[in-house]
């Protein structure tokens, strides 16, 4: 249970995924499961694809048609609760927020981690973007095997040992 462990259930996660056919393009997954007063995702989206409305406690809803998967919301969310996903053949390509050192580098292979903090697969680092607007939150493009699409959420560096 989210309230006891901090880990959302698979049902909760799936409720934020659009239909698979929409994922031929990258789309944002808004994992905000609680009413808290917050709306930078809505105000940062350049395509008006995230809707909260005047009561900022409302959980954000994605307009799947309008979302281009640009990733601006990923680095704007103060709770780091948004990722972008796209299905490409036998891979799922993600854009995730990352705020630790060392930063991953293009071409490296890191651990793919699920929401419980367990290693589930290898994650291929495709690109890493850092600019001033992101304010120290790096945007990392990473690919994992598509069967892990609903489990993968972040990366962890592989230890030399």
């Amino acid at each position: 249970m989210l309230n006891q462990t901090g880990i959302p259930t698979l049902d909760q996660v799936l409720s934020r995924f659009p239909e698979e056919k929409a994922l031929i393009r990258p789309k944002a997954i808004l994992e905000c499961y609680e009413d808290i007063p917050c709306n930078p995702c809505e105000t940062s989206c350049p395509f008006d694809a995230i809707h909260i409305g005047p009561n900022i406690n409302t959980q954000p809803k994605l307009d799947v048609e309008k979302c281009t998967g640009c990733g601006i919301c990923v680095t704007s969310c103060p709770g780091l609760a948004i990722i972008v996903v796209q299905m490409k053949g036998n891979e799922a390509q993600f854009k995730i927020p990352y705020e630790f050192l060392p930063y991953p580098e293009k071409g490296q292979v890191w651990h793919g981690i699920n929401r419980s903090g367990d290693v589930i697969c290898d994650a291929k680092i495709d690109q890493i973007l850092i600019n001033k607007k992101q304010d120290h939150t790096a945007l990392v493009m990473v690919s994992v095997p598509v069967i892990h699409m609903h489990d993968f959420v972040t990366i962890r560096v592989k230890n030399e040992s």
Binding site: E99, F100, L101, H136
Partner: protein
């Protein structure tokens, strides 16, 4: 135990400051408080309690709780967690309520 690199903050190298702790010459950096400089040196015990002489360190680090009292340049009850480190300070552990000379 200083932070070398950090994903959000920058910790530029600062001027080294030498001071005395319990008769030993030690150092911290410009911008340190006495307590942060001692902590960076691995010194966590700042004083001893009045009756049972139990070791004490700081707790709140912003000057509210009085756990961090030490004798600085002969003056007792100095809140070391909010007192900026200055060159040649003489810092000693306090074991009593403080004797003001």
């Amino acid at each position: 135990m200083r932070i070398e690199s950090h994903p959000i903050l920058d910790f530029p190298k600062k001027q080294e400051i030498f001071f005395m702790f319990e008769g030993r010459k030690v150092s911290g950096f410009q911008g340190d408080t006495i307590a942060s400089a001692l902590h960076a040196l691995g010194i966590k015990t700042l004083s001893y309690s009045i009756h049972k002489k139990r070791p004490r360190g700081f707790y709140c680090a912003i000057g509210n709780c009085a756990s961090c009292h030490m004798i600085v340049n002969g003056i007792p009850n100095i809140r070391t967690c909010i007192t900026p480190l200055e060159p040649n300070m003489i810092v000693q552990r306090q074991e009593n309520k403080g004797v003001i000379k």
